[in-house]
Amino acid sequence: MSPLVQGIVTVILGVGGCVGYFFLSNLILDKVIFPASGPRPGRNINRANLVRPWLFLFPAMVALGLYLVYPVVGSFWRSLYNRSGDEFIGFGNYQTMFADDGFQTALFNNFLWVLVVPAAATFFGLLVAQLTDRLRWGNIAKSLIFMPMAISFVGASLIWKFVYANNADIGLINAIRDFFGADEPLDVLQLNFWNNFFLMFILVWIQTGFAMVILSAALRGIPEETIEAAIIDGANPFQIFFKIKVPQIMGTIVVVWTTITILVLKVFDIVYTMTGGNFGTEILPSYMMSYMFRDDGRATAVAFVIMIIVLPVMIWNIRQARAEMR
């Protein structure tokens, strides 16, 4: 059957299947296994409630376990072997990797990316969210700023090629420099160290929409009374923003920051397509791509380092979650 029909059938089956599973499993749990009747209803209800979370979680855990945990564990195991997979070398891959210049450059650059991009995207997102909050044409403005998110990374690379191109006839930056009298075109992507920031800005450009959307909703959710009270007390807009609004949405800011940080650790397309990792712009994901399928031991080791970098973020989030639950 044609894929389209297959798709429709899958959606129906999938949705129906999910709903059916959840409904039936809960039904069976409540009516059959631990019915709330009979000699000890209380104990049954308690037992049902112990089991129920696992019913809710079961499909997700299967999917996650299979599609993510299994490759991760397998990959860690693989990173302990040599490039063709037949010789156990323990942490040998990690040792050679850390000694490699290319890896060190990639690691350093990655820290830059992790520091700059989430901060910048969150900042711009918050800025736009606040500025467009009461604007009549706020929705239009927000939509326009969100638009880059709809563009694939390949499209984004192309768009920014027309900005960064090393030719005053094609690249916007060089055209502006030319207008102000610069003699020769400057290839911003070859500038030592600063080229990283030019690449980072592309990701900021894309992700600001994401941050803006979420922070905008959070701002809307702040109760009006607190703001009104502050105005009555004589606070100016800046004080309101920094002392009332920001603390109230701090949870959201953390979520946005976390999500973007994690995305930064995964995105390799921008660097890969614009410079191929040359000129000192290599970051860990693109470094990994250059080893993927050639030296899988090294590639999986890099992947593991990436995952370890996210540990602090993970721990922070767990702490937040625990604090919320109290």
Binding site: P53, L68, P148, S152, V213
Partner: protein
């Protein structure tokens, strides 16, 4: 209500201007691409897109036909007009390739070997040479080429074989890959948000950790697995893969939203005897609708623009290509230097996500997270 924040007109001007500035800054690169998609490759290399509405002065080469030479007073002369079809305006001209704009229109240029060349503004030229003219002489001139915008690039792509099929394939991949993860994630998010059980903290931590798994790691093992269970490279495979890959973010975002729902509503429902399942389906799910819609948009965009997963989990024959694969593999490979075509291709693939976004954006604005929901 608008004035409660004390917006003086000066402040509101500043706000408006800064927003305009930001929006323009964000838009410019994309506008550049859009304009370029209507130009052809030569024009793109000749002038920047910001100059595209203006005629561009370019140099051209024309050849006079040696056969048309006549003999007048001992010299050989060729006369004619540079513009074979229609008319044009010559600004400058020259007789050598290295110096195509040596003379202004109307002057007479003295070339080597006692030859002369005169070119008028309307393109009429006179070329004289004392020696016999054996080969077609070249005349170089500059003229303003009018800006040329056309839908040619779009036409080339749309008529490229199987483009419509690729579009349908993309829809076929994205819609199930958006709906199913949301459903599974909603249940899991609720459990992690409102049900108390041992190991909850650990599970949340694991979900956050799984957010960062680089997809490339999972490709080969999972494809091997798909082959083993017999579904190989197929649409079913990619739906399952996208579900698996999209779950961590879905659970994370939905859980964060659900945690923010008012405790009292849920507690009172439980006190009234509702089971968790009923609380979930009747209260939490409807209240979470903005979050579900927002995540649906993100997941839709992600699967629509995805290239890597589609290349690995879908069959590689051209009937099964999605649009990103078709553009990246087919068009980019052979037309790598044709920026006009690439620009048009990029816009074609943006079209649907943009439409989806603009129609659904009011849900986005209602938001993914709220401090309180009334």
């Amino acid at each position: 209500m608008d004035n409660i924040a004390g917006t003086k007109s000066a402040l509101s001007w500043v706000v408006n201007l800064s927003v305009i500035f930001l929006v323009v800054l964000w838009l410019i690169p994309t506008v550049g691409l859009l304009v370029s998609s209507f130009r052809d490759r030569d024009q793109i290399s000749a002038s920047g897109w910001w100059l595209s509405p203006f005629p561009v002065e370019q140099n051209f080469q024309a050849k006079a036909a040696a056969d048309d030479a006549t003999s007048q007073n001992g010299t050989n002369v060729i006369e004619g007009n540079l513009f074979s079809e229609g008319s044009g305006e010559v600004i400058r001209f020259g007789g050598s390739r290295n110096n195509p704009t040596a003379n202004a229109a109307g002057e007479t240029a003295e070339l080597s070997k006692d030859r002369t060349l005169t070119v008028q503004q309307n393109g009429d030229f006179v070329y004289t040479s004392p020696a016999e003219i054996k080969r077609d002489p070249s005349i170089y001139y500059s003229t303003k080429t009018p800006p040329k915008f056309s839908m040619d690039n779009y036409r080339t792509i749309m008529s490229s074989s199987n483009m419509d099929l690729a579009f349908i394939n993309t829809l076929t991949v994205t819609i199930p890959a958006t709906i199913i993860p949301i459903l599974i994630a909603a249940f899991a998010a609720y459990a992690l948000a409102w049900m108390d059980f041992a190991g909850r903290g650990v599970l949340i931590a694991v979900v956050v950790g799984l957010l960062v798994v680089p997809l490339q790691l999972a490709l080969v093992p999972l494809l091997q697995f798909h082959n083993k269970i017999g579904i190989g490279q197929s649409f079913l495979g990619i739906w399952m893969a996208h579900t698996g890959f999209g779950l961590p973010l879905a659970i994370y975002l939905l859980r964060n939203y659900m945690v923010g729902l008012p405790r009292d509503i849920i507690e009172s429902a439980k006190v009234d005897g509702a089971t968790d399942f009923q609380v979930f389906t009747r209260i939490v799910l409807p209240l979470s609708f903005p979050a579900l819609a927002s995540f649906a948009i993100f997941q839709f965009l992600w699967t629509w623009n995805d290239l890597l997963v589609a290349k690995v989990f879908l069959p590689s024959n051209s009937e099964s290509w999605v649009m990103t694969v078709k553009i990246a593999d087919d068009l980019l490979g052979s037309r790598g230097g044709d920026w006009g075509i690439l620009a048009a291709a990029a816009f074609i693939s943006i079209a649907v996500p943009l439409i989806v976004f603009f129609t659904m954006q009011r849900y986005l604005v209602r938001g993914l997270l709220a401090g309180s929901v009334k």
